[in-house]
C-alpha cells in the first residue's frame, strides 16, 4: 500500500514539470505580451522595449523558464503586475472559494449521479430509466453558463430566493448561512454536467455488475434486493466509478471558470480569465500550476482509494 502511494507520488513530479513547461510555452506563444497589455493604446515600439526590459521579457525563453522554475521551487511565484501583489498570496486567497464551490458541486453530482444511475440500472428500460436518461442527456448538453443565467433569472430575479452573485452579502455578510445561500445556485449549475456523466457511468457499470455470477448467487441465496444492490453490486461498481469521480473533479474545477464569471464567485477561475486577458503571465502560470497540482493530487487520491477497494489494481 505505502509503496504504491510512494510510487505514484514520484510519478507526480514529471507530470507537474511537464505542466509547467506547457503553460510557460503557451503563455510565451500568445500574441501580445504583458508589455503590450500594460501599455494598451500607449504601446509604441520604444515604450514596449522599455517595459519589456523592465519586466525581463527581453531575456531568452529558456533563461526565463529556468528563473521562474527556480524561484517557484523556493516558494516564490513572482509578483502579479496587474494586481501589484505576490502571485502566491492571490492564488491562495482564491483557492478556498474555488475548492468550496467545486467540492460542493462534486459531492452534489456524485450523490445525485450515482443515485440516478443506480435507479436507472435497477429499472432498466422502465419509465424511471427513460426519464433519468432523458434528464441526464439534457444536463450534459446544456451549456453551464447559459443554465447559470437561467437559474439567476428564475430563482434570484423572479422568485428572489437566492442572491444573484458573489460569495457573501456585501453588507453584513460572511456567516455560514450567508455563504450557503450564495453557494446554492453556482454549485447546482456546476454540478449538472458532472451529474450526467456520473449517472451514465454508474448506470452502465451497475448493469454490467448486475449480470455477474455473484449477483445471481446473492439473489439465489434469497438476499433482499436492497442488500444485493447496495452491498454486492454497488460496492463492486464503485471500483470503476471512483477514478471517473477523480476525472470529473478536473472538469468541475475547469467548469468553475465559466460559473465563477457568471456568478462573480471570487475564485481562481475568474482570476485566470482576467489574468489571461491582461497577459499577467506570472499569475496565469502560478494559478495553472497550483490548479494542476490539486487536480493531480485528487486523481492520486482517487487511484489510491481504488487500489484500496481493489488491491489487484497497481501502477
Amino acid at each position: 500500500m505505502y509503496r504504491y502511494i510512494l510510487k505514484r507520488l514520484i510519478l507526480v513530479i514529471p507530470v507537474l514539470l511537464g505542466i509547467s513547461v506547457i503553460v510557460f510555452l503557451i503563455m510565451a506563444m500568445l500574441p501580445g505580451d504583458a508589455a503590450q497589455a500594460i501599455l494598451g493604446s500607449f504601446a509604441t515600439p520604444e515604450n514596449l522595449a522599455r517595459v519589456r526590459s523592465d519586466l525581463g521579457l527581453d531575456e531568452p525563453l529558456v533563461t526565463r523558464y529556468v528563473i521562474w522554475l527556480g524561484n517557484m521551487l523556493q516558494g516564490d511565484f513572482g509578483r502579479s503586475y496587474t494586481l501589484q501583489r505576490p502571485v502566491l498570496d492571490e492564488v491562495l486567497d482564491r483557492l478556498g472559494p474555488t475548492l468550496l464551490l467545486a467540492g460542493t458541486s462534486l459531492v452534489l453530482a456524485s450523490i445525485m449521479g450515482m443515485l440516478a444511475g443506480i435507479i436507472a440500472a435497477m429499472k432498466q428500460f422502465g419509465w424511471q430509466d427513460a426519464l433519468f436518461t432523458f434528464i441526464v442527456l439534457i444536463g450534459i448538453s446544456t451549456p453551464s453558463f447559459w443554465l447559470g443565467l437561467m437559474f439567476v433569472l428564475l430563482f434570484s430575479l423572479n422568485l428572489g430566493w437566492f442572491p444573484v452573485s458573489g460569495m457573501t452579502a456585501v453588507i453584513g455578510g460572511g456567516g455560514v448561512f450567508d455563504v450557503l445561500r450564495h453557494l446554492a445556485l453556482p454549485a447546482v449549475t456546476l454540478a449538472v454536467v458532472a451529474t450526467g456523466v456520473i449517472a451514465r457511468l454508474t448506470r452502465s457499470t451497475m448493469l454490467e455488475v448486475l449480470r455477474k455470477d455473484f449477483v445471481r448467487s446473492a439473489r439465489a441465496k434469497g438476499l433482499p434486493e436492497r442488500t444485493v444492490i447496495m452491498k454486492h453490486a454497488y460496492k463492486n461498481a464503485l471500483v470503476n466509478i471512483i477514478p471517473v469521480l477523480g476525472i470529473q473533479a478536473g472538469f468541475v474545477i475547469g467548469g468553475a471558470v465559466y460559473i465563477e464569471t457568471v456568478f462573480q464567485w471570487p475564485g481562481i477561475g475568474r482570476m485566470l480569465v482576467n489574468a489571461i486577458l491582461t497577459r499577467d503571465v506570472l499569475l496565469v502560470q502560478g494559478g495553472v500550476v497550483v490548479v494542476a497540482a490539486i487536480y493531480v493530487l485528487i486523481n492520486l487520491t482517487a487511484d489510491v482509494f481504488q487500489h484500496f477497494l481493489d488491491p489487484r489494481i497497481s501502477v
Binding site: D33, Q36, L39, G40, T44, Q84, I171, L180, R181, A184
Partner: protein, 522 residues
C-alpha cells in the same frame, strides 16, 4: 428508501433555514452606497494605473492640485487655491490650501507635493519605483518641483506645455500621502491614503473595495457614510444585480439593457457625452487611401447615424472631427459630420480611380473604449460593399490587435478600428495626427497622415497658455483634418449609468470619472 427521504427533508430544511437567515438581513450599520464596477481595480495608486475603472474609485480617495469643474472639462481649484503661469509658460506657481491633512494625519504641504512629482519623475528619488507607467508622459515636461515655502510650490517645465493643467486635473495628478508610501512601499496600491472625500477601509480581492466618509473633508460634508465598490465583470450579471437590488448605482449599462431600466420607476438612467472618439485609421502610405477623394468617399459611404442608432442603440452620437464635442471650449461648432451619401461616395470613388482592389480592414474583438467593434465592423463592411468597395475583415483579440496596429498599418492593412479617451483636446491630435508621431518616430499616427499646417498649429497650441488662443488653433486643426479625412470619424460614446431613484445629487461627468462626495441616499 426511508433514509433518502430523511436526507431530502434535511436538505430542504437546511436550504429553507439558509434562505430565511438571508431574508432576515436588515440594513443596520452605516448608510451605504453600493456601486457596480466593470472590473476589479488593478491598484489604488494613482501614479501606477491607467484604467477609467480604477480612476472612478481613486477620485473619491484622493484630490489633486486642481480638478475638473462639475459637468465640464474646464479646470478649477482643488488642493491648490490659486496658481500663476509665467509669461513664457515654463513656471507654474501654486498656492496650496492650508489646514488639509491626509487620512493618516500627514500634513498636506509643499513638501508633500514635491514628494508626489519626484516619485513619478525623478529616477534618483528613493520611492521612484512606480513601475512601467504609460501615463508618465503627462508630466514629462516637468523638469523640477521646487518648494518655495510651506504652502507654495513651483513646477518648472523644460518647454511650454499647455495641456499641463488638464493633466493635473486628471487622476494621474492625484496626490498621495508621502508617509503612507514610505510605510507600505510596493504595497501602497492596496493601502491607499489620500486627502479625498472618502478614506480607504478594506479591499477584498474580487469582492469589494470599501471606503468610508472622511469627516474632516476640506470640501464640505460627504453625503453617504460608506461606499462599497463591487467588481462585476459580466455585464449580464451586473444588470441582474442592479435589478435585484444588489447595487445602488452601476456604470456602463449594456445598450440592450438601458430600456429595461428606463421603463421602471425605481431606476433613473443617466447619460453623458465624454471626450471619446471611435474612428477608423486609414493607411495613407499605400493603397487606395493615398487619394483624398477616396478617403472622403468612405466618410460619405458609411451610415454613421445607422451605426449609432441600431448597433449602439443610441448610446453614442455621430462624430465629426478628431476633437469630441465634450471639449466644449475647443470644439468647432461649425463642423457637421460627413452625411451618409452613397451617391456622392460613388462619384468620389470614380474620381479617385479606384480599381476594385480588396481592402484589408482590422477589427478587434473588444477593448477599452471600442464599444461593439465586431457588429460595427461588419456594418461598415456592408456599407462599403454597397458603394462597390470590397472589404476583407481580419479580427484580432485586443492586445494582439494593438500589437499590429500601433507599429503602423504599412504592408498589413488599409484601415483599422481605433478609439481614444483623453482629457485634453491636445492629446489625441498630438499623439496620432502629427508627422512627428508616425510609428517609426514613436507616436501613434499608424496611418501616416502628414500635413505641415496641422503640425505647426498643434505646436503653437502647445506653446500658448491662453485658452481662447488655444481654442482658435484647435478649431482650425479640426477644419483641416475634417477635409483631409485621414480617418473616418464615426462615433462619440455617451457613457451611461443607472441608479436607484433614491439617489440624490448624482451626475455623470464628461471626464468619465465618478464624483461621489455630494451624493446621498434618501
Amino acid at each position: 428508501m426511508k433514509r433518502w427521504t430523511a436526507i431530502a427533508v434535511l436538505l430542504t430544511a437546511i436550504t429553507a433555514m439558509a434562505w430565511a437567515a438571508g431574508a432576515g438581513e436588515q440594513e443596520d450599520g452605516p448608510e451605504t452606497l453600493v456601486v457596480g464596477q466593470i472590473a476589479e481595480p488593478n491598484a489604488l495608486d494613482p501614479h501606477t494605473v491607467t484604467a477609467v475603472n480604477d480612476f472612478r474609485i481613486l477620485v473619491n480617495l484622493y484630490d489633486g492640485l486642481v480638478r475638473f469643474q462639475d459637468g465640464s472639462l474646464a479646470v478649477e481649484p482643488a488642493l491648490a487655491t490659486d496658481w500663476e503661469i509665467s509669461d513664457d509658460g515654463t513656471v507654474y506657481t501654486f498656492e496650496l490650501r492650508q489646514g488639509v491633512t491626509f487620512h493618516d494625519g500627514t500634513p498636506f504641504n509643499a513638501e508633500a507635493v514635491k514628494f508626489n512629482f519626484d516619485r513619478m519623475l525623478d529616477e534618483s528619488h528613493p520611492y521612484y519605483d512606480t513601475g512601467p507607467f504609460p501615463l508618465s508622459f503627462y508630466f514629462s515636461a516637468i523638469q523640477e518641483t521646487r518648494v518655495v515655502d510651506e504652502y507654495t510650490v513651483q513646477l518648472i517645465l523644460g518647454e511650454p506645455f499647455a495641456p499641463l493643467m488638464s493633466n493635473l486635473a486628471y487622476p494621474t495628478g492625484l496626490l498621495v500621502s508621502p508617509t503612507a508610501v514610505e510605510t507600505h512601499g510596493a504595497e501602497f496600491g492596496r493601502n491607499p491614503v489620500g486627502t479625498g472625500a472618502f478614506q480607504f477601509v478594506e479591499w477584498q480581492s474580487n469582492t469589494n473595495v470599501t471606503v468610508e466618509a472622511n469627516e474632516n473633508y476640506w470640501d464640505g460634508p460627504v453625503g453617504v457614510e460608506q461606499v462599497i465598490f463591487r467588481p462585476i465583470t459580466d455585464a449580464n450579471t451586473r444588470v441582474t444585480e442592479m435589478l435585484s437590488g444588489g447595487l445602488d448605482l452601476m456604470v456602463e449599462v449594456p445598450p440592450d439593457s438601458v430600456q429595461v431600466f428606463e421603463q421602471r420607476d425605481e431606476f433613473t438612467v443617466y447619460e453623458q457625452a465624454g471626450p471619446h472618439l471611435w474612428f477608423l485609421i486609414l493607411n495613407l502610405r499605400e493603397g487606395p487611401f493615398t487619394s483624398k477623394a477616396m478617403r472622403q468617399a468612405v466618410n460619405y459611404a458609411i451610415d454613421k447615424e445607422g451605426l449609432v442608432e441600431n448597433v449602439l442603440q443610441g448610446t453614442a452620437t455621430v462624430a465629426d472631427s478628431p476633437i469630441p464635442p465634450a471639449f466644449d471650449w475647443a470644439y468647432n461648432e461649425d463642423l457637421d459630420p460627413y452625411p451618409y451619401d452613397p451617391a456622392r461616395a460613388q462619384e468620389l470613388i470614380e474620381e479617385a480611380g479606384y480599381d476594385g482592389e480588396e481592402l484589408v480592414f482590422y477589427v478587434t474583438e473588444g477593448g477599452s473604449g471600442m464599444l461593439d467593434p465586431v457588429p460595427m465592423g461588419t456594418a461598415i463592411q456592408a456599407d462599403l460593399e454597397a458603394v462597390g468597395i470590397d472589404v476583407s475583415i481580419e479580427t484580432y483579440e485586443w492586445n494582439t490587435f494593438l500589437g499590429r496596429v500601433n507599429p503602423g498599418l504599412e504592408g498589413k492593412a488599409d484601415m483599422a478600428q481605433m478609439a481614444w479617451m483623453t482629457n485634453d483636446p491636445d492629446t489625441l491630435p498630438f499623439l496620432a495626427l502629427r508627422t512627428a508621431a508616425w510609428p517609426e518616430e514613436g507616436g501613434f499616427n499608424s496611418g501616416y497622415y502628414s500635413n505641415p499646417e496641422v503640425d505647426e498649429l498643434l505646436a503653437q497650441a502647445r506653446r500658448s497658455t491662453d485658452q481662447s488662443e488655444r481654442a482658435r488653433l484647435y478649431r482650425e486643426v479640426q477644419e483641416i483634418v475634417y477635409d483631409d479625412a485621414p480617418w473616418v470619424f464615426v462615433a462619440n460614446w455617451q457613457q451611461n449609468a443607472v441608479a436607484v431613484s433614491d439617489l440624490q445629487n448624482f451626475s455623470l461627468q464628461p471626464s468619465f470619472l465618478l464624483k461621489l462626495a455630494p451624493v446621498s441616499l434618501d
